[in-house]
């Protein structure tokens, strides 16, 4: 019961906030939600299932492009385009995931990086279908029951996708499936000896999280009513990795903190350090890895842990 209230409360706050914000802040807010939604699913893939894939952002792009192409070029209604786009992303992810069963560590990173590159090449060369290097523009979400979904309403849509993703991930993380994923991450051989079907578990993790990315990408496609290749390029794929690492990989909270922080960083830091704000990202990354490999939530846990330990000592 308490859980329902908490989730409902969070949903309410996240949905009311965009209406209270000035437009710029609202736009930053909804784009931040997009990054948070991607970061938490990427955290599951990278931090919990241990797959260092760099294709996550490409799948967001696949979701975004597919839903736009289906609606504007094939004339598919929204309610049908959504499952179709998710389905396509799922099928592609399923195929790519076989790489994840054969490759580990940075080899998987390289293979998925190549996939992400290939995706950009196809977007660039896709002619009228993908709009080429300029992407697709000036389309609009059709009216839903006579109502135009735009501005803060898209923020709400993204908030719902985010909460759904989070709820989904929290559930599976604390189940046998999450344990199986962590077991494979820590030691694949031992996991197999415990009866975990390593291949199947990896494929599922990759496919599920990639579909989640596609879901977030679908909403994102209507933020600015334009999708173009640079947004889904390698730079953002690495940015996602940085978010999860800096926040604390393997922790849902860490992914959220990392995404919020890095998105705000460029707005908070830029006025003070100007052109050097991008460098701040690199410095933060290096410092976090060197000082606290569990990321910013690790620092928090350390502080709380120390305090608790201190209290425990003081009591007896």
């Amino acid at each position: 019961m308490g859980a329902a209230i908490r989730w409902g409360g969070a949903a309410l706050i996240m949905c009311v906030v965009p209406f209270l914000l000035p437009l710029y802040e609202m736009d930053v807010y909804r784009k931040m939600l997009f990054w948070v939604a991607l970061a938490i699913s990427y955290n599951f893939l990278f931090g919990i299932a241990g797959q260092m894939a760099l294709s996550h952002f490409a799948f967001a792009g696949i979701g975004a492009y597919t839903v736009v192409i289906l609606m504007t070029q094939a004339g598919v209604p929204l309610l049908l385009a959504i499952p179709l786009a998710l389905g396509l992303a799922g099928i592609l992810a399923f195929i790519v995931s076989f790489a994840a069963t054969r490759l580990e560590g940075f080899y998987l990173a390289l293979a998925t990086l190549a996939f992400a590159q290939l995706f950009i090449v196809i977007l660039d060369e896709g002619g009228a279908l993908t709009g080429g290097t300029g992407g697709l523009t000036s389309y609009k979400l059709p009216l839903v029951f006579g109502f135009e979904i735009q501005g803060p309403w898209l923020a709400i849509a993204m908030a719902l996708v985010l909460l759904l993703t989070l709820a989904f991930l929290l559930r599976i993380d604390r189940s046998w499936y999450g344990r199986a994923c962590r077991a494979i991450r820590d030691n694949g051989e031992a996991a197999a000896a415990m009866g975990v079907d390593v291949k199947r578990t990896k494929i599922m993790a990759f496919t599920l999280t990639s579909v989640m990315a596609a879901g977030a990408g679908m909403v994102y496609a209507f933020f600015d009513n334009t999708v173009n290749p640079p947004v889904f390029g390698l730079e953002n794929a690495f940015m996602l990795l940085f978010m999860v690492i800096i926040g604390g990989s393997g922790s849902h909270l860490g992914a959220i903190v990392g995404a919020v922080l890095l998105r705000l960083l460029q707005d908070m830091l830029e006025p003070f350090v100007g052109q050097f704000h991008v460098m701040g990202l690199g410095i933060l990354m290096v410092v976090v890895i060197l000082v606290q490999p569990k990321g910013l939530v690790g620092i928090w846990d350390d502080l709380v842990g120390r305090k608790r330990a201190g209290r425990r000592k003081a009591k007896p």
């Binding site: 260092m52 076989f98 790489a99 054969r102 490759l103 560590g105 940075f106 080899y107 390289l110 293979a111 990086l113 190549a114 996939f115 590159q117 290939l118 090449v121 196809i122 660039d124 060369e125 390698l234 690495f238 990795l241 940085f242 690492i245 052109q275 050097f276 991008v278 460098m279 990202l281 690199g282 410095i283 933060l284 990354m285 290096v286 890895i289 060197l290 490999p293």
Partner: protein, 293 residues
């Protein structure tokens, strides 16, 4: 036919540049198990260093190459000392140094971007671009110079690894760090030298390549991608694999662009497709590891 031979000379030179970047990856990867995505940045920084040295310092191009390599060797060594050594000593996992180096990549790139006011700078090759012909083989001085210098570097490294005690100790570390340490090999020194050497080699690749185009910050990412693709294609176990992988990759790219009946923009897909294919089908690359002696 003349076209093909001319293309092959130029592609071989490109392949040599890829091979050198692959070698830079390999030098770090073998003893430490770390893939250093910043290798492309090192090449770019090497090119900038050579530009500054020959433009402001007035050094002739042929001397700018070793000078830039030296500058980058110091940067490579510092990188290892600052970001990798603390992690290794703490016993952090394999991934930690890779990620730390990714952070360094961003820092390097931004430092260069903000230190220079124009987007591109010219860099002269030591012999210019005159055309030279060996029978049917024809190409620019710079292309032949790239090939010659690369072969010399690879022979040097091959001899180093095969014939010297130092080289053997690198190999021993590559095979088994703990056993090597027990044998009395100074792991710290080997790792530091690997990074310094890798940075110097990457810088050389950047300096050799730049006269063909120009020196610019954007050159780093393609070099990084092409370099590790070459590495995977050639196989990560042998020094000569890096060169072979580079040449195979360059041939695949250039021959596709020249002869494949597809739009030349789509030919960009060659590298990722080759990379995926090798990773999945031939993960050990073209050259297998030598049988243990």
């Amino acid at each position: 036919m003349a076209d093909l031979l001319e293309l092959l000379v130029s592609a071989t030179a490109s392949g040599c540049v890829y091979g050198l970047i692959a070698l830079a990856y390999l030098l770090v990867l073998r003893p430490t198990g770390v893939i250093n995505f910043a290798s492309g940045e090192w090449a770019m920084m090497g090119a900038y260093a050579a530009y500054v040295i020959s433009d402001a310092g007035g050094l002739p191009p042929i001397l700018a190459i070793p000078a830039a390599a030296l500058v980058l060797a110091i940067i490579g060594w510092l990188t290892e000392w600052l970001t990798v050594r603390p992690l290794v000593e703490r016993g952090a996992g394999h991934l930690a140094p890779i990620l730390a180096l990714l952070g360094m990549l961003v820092i390097y790139h931004q430092v260069v971007l903000l230190s220079f006011s124009e987007d591109q700078y010219p860099l002269d090759g030591p012999f210019g671009f005159g055309r030279i012909e060996f029978g049917l083989l024809a190409g620019s001085y710079q292309d032949f110079f790239i090939v010659g210098a690369t072969i010399a570097i690879f022979i040097g490294f091959w001899l180093f690894f095969e014939r010297t005690v130092w080289g053997r100790s690198f190999e021993a570390v590559a095979i088994n760090r703990r056993a090597a340490a027990l044998m009395g090999i100074n792991l710290r020194m080997v790792t530091a030298l690997s990074f310094a050497g890798a940075a110097a080699i990457a810088a050389t690749a950047g300096v050799l390549d730049s006269p063909r185009g120009s020196v610019e910050a954007n050159m780093s990412l393609p070099l990084a991608v092409q370099g590790f693709s070459a590495l995977i294609i050639g196989g990560i176990n042998r020094v000569e694999g890096a060169l072979l992988g580079g040449i195979v990759l360059a041939f695949a790219e250039d021959l596709t662009r020249r002869y494949a009946p597809i739009p030349s923009g789509l030919a960009l897909g060659v590298t990722p497709v080759l990379l995926i294919t090798f990773l999945l089908v031939l993960p050990n690359g073209i050259l297998r590891a030598k049988e243990a002696k």
